[in-house]
Amino acid sequence: MNVARTCGVAGVVVLLAVVSASAAISGAPPVKGQQPLLITNAGQGPGAKMSRLLVQRTGAVADFDYLAEPQPADLKTKPYKTLMVVLGSTAKGLGASGITIDQEIDRLNAMIAEAKKLKLQIVGVLLEGKTRRGKPGGADERCIDAIAPFADYLVVKKDGNEDGRFDAIAKKSGAPLTFIDDAMDFSEVVKAMYAK
C-alpha cells in the first residue's frame, strides 16, 4: 500500500515536473488518457495525421488507431476508451474525401452522439492553432462547434485562442483546457496523459 502510494506520489511529482519544466505547456495539467485510443479529425484537415505521428513517436500509447472519417458504428469495432478529435478543416482535405462541410458536420454530430452514448472520453485538440481558425460560420468554426463543447478535455495551440473562444467553451462545459505553444509540444501533453 505504502509502496503504491509512494509510486503514485512520485508519478504525480514527475508529471508536474515534466509539465512545469516546459513553459511550452500551460493552463490545466494534462488529464489521464485511456486506451484503446482512437484518433480522428473534424474537418478533414491534416492535424489528425500530425497528431497520430506525434503520438506514435512518443511511444507512450500502446493501443491506438487512426480513422479519417469514423462513422458511429466504427466506435464499436474495438472497446475504445478515448476518442481524440483534432479540429481543423481544409478545402483540399474535404475535396480529397469527396464530401462537403455540411456532410462532415452531420457525420461529426452522429459520431459525438455515439461517443457520448458509449461514455468515451472525448479529447478535443486544436493542434494547428490559428491556422485552423476562421470567420464565424466558416468550416473551421463549425467543426469547433461540433466537437469542443462536448469534449471532456481540450488541448489548444495557444494562438488559436487569441479571441478567448476556447476559454469560453471550457468555462461553460467545465472541461480542463491545456495550452501548447507549438504543435510539437503536443508530444509532451501525450506523454503526460499516458504516463504510467
Binding site: 495525421k49 500530425m50 480529397a96
Partner: protein, 388 residues
Amino acid sequence: MNDRALVGRRVGLLLASLALMVVGTKDIRALRAYRETVVVSEAFTRQAPLSTYFDGIRGTLMDVPVFVFDSGVPGGSVLILGGAHAYEPASPVMAYVVMENITVTQGKVFVIARANMSASTLGMLGNAYPPFFRVKTPWGEKTYRIGDRETNPLEQWPDPFTFVHYPSAQNLAYQDSRNLNRTFPGRPGGNLTERTSFAISELIRREQIDMTIDVHEASMGYPVVSTYVCHQRAEEMCMMAAMILSAEQFPMKTETSPKSLRGLTHREIGDFTESFAVLMETPEPFIDKFVGPMTEALMLTGKDEFMQTAADRGLLYAEYDMKTGATLDYRVGRHLGGAAEVIKQMGEFYPAKKVGVSWPTYAAVMEKGIGAFLHDPAKAAAARVFRH
C-alpha cells in the same frame, strides 16, 4: 488621289507599322534574349541538358540545363525544381542561391532553376508588371526575369478549347495546356509543356530521385499559401518538417495532395515515379489580384496597402503586416529553410536516403539578404559561371 500617291501612302503606313512593331516589341525581345547568370558552388559536378532524358524537347527553350551536385558518398538524391511558374520568382532565385552556395557531404542534389524557361520570356497579359527585377549584392546588381505563369504562346499555340489532362482525362482550363504544374506526368507525344513534364518525369525515374521539391509562390488569398503540399507517401515527412519549422523558424502548414486534382507535381510525380513529391508555397503579394501597382518594388518588398486592408478584414490565409511585407529575402529564405528541413526529415524517416546538404539558412538570409549569397561572375572561375 492618283495611284502613285495611294501606293506611297500604303508604303508609308506599312513602314510606320513596322516601326511601331520594332519599338513595341523592344521589351519583349530584350526579355527573350536576356540570360541570367549563376556562379555554381565548388560542389558542382556536372550539368546536362534536360533533353538527355527525353529527346522530344531538344532544340526548344524547354531544353534547360540540369545541374548536379554529387558528394560521391552513397545516400539519397533530391531534385529541386525551380521556375515551374516563372512569375513566382522566389522559386528560381531560391534555386540559384542553392546552386551558388551548396555543399553536399552525402548523396546528391539535382537542380533545375528554370523548369519552364519559355514562361520566363513574357509577362502576364493585363498585369502590366516590369520584365525584370534586380537584387542588390555587395558587388553590384543581379538581374532576373519575372515572367508569366504559363508557357509562352510563341512556343506553344493555339490553346485547345478545353485541356484534357493525360492520362486521367480530367478536363482542365484551356490555359492549363501551357501550365507546367498541370501537365505532369507528361507524355512523349503531347504538346511542348507536356513533353517537358515527361522529360522531368524521365529524369526522376532514370536518376532514381528520392525526393522532388517543386518550389512555388502563392497569392495570400489562396488557402495553401505558406504550405507544403505533399503526396501521400511524403506526408509524414512534411508534417514533421512543418511542425518543426513552425516551432523554430517560420509558420508553415502542410496539406496532402488530393487524389482528384490532376496534373500537379505533388500528385503525378508521386503516382508515376518512386520519388517523394513535395511542393512548397510562400506568400507573394505581387501575384494577388487586389494589390496596387505591380512594380519592381512590390516584387522585392511585398508591401502593399490594399493587401493590408485585406489582412485587416481577415481575408488572407497568412499573417501580413505592411511594415514588414513579404520581402524576396523572406520568401527565398523560407524556401531554403523549407527544403532543408524536409530533406532532413527524409533522412530521419529513411536513413538510407539521407542527403547531407547545406546552404544559407533562413536566419542567415533574413540577416544578410540574398545578395550576400550571390557571387560576382566577373571574379569567378569561368568553369563555374553559367548563363541561362
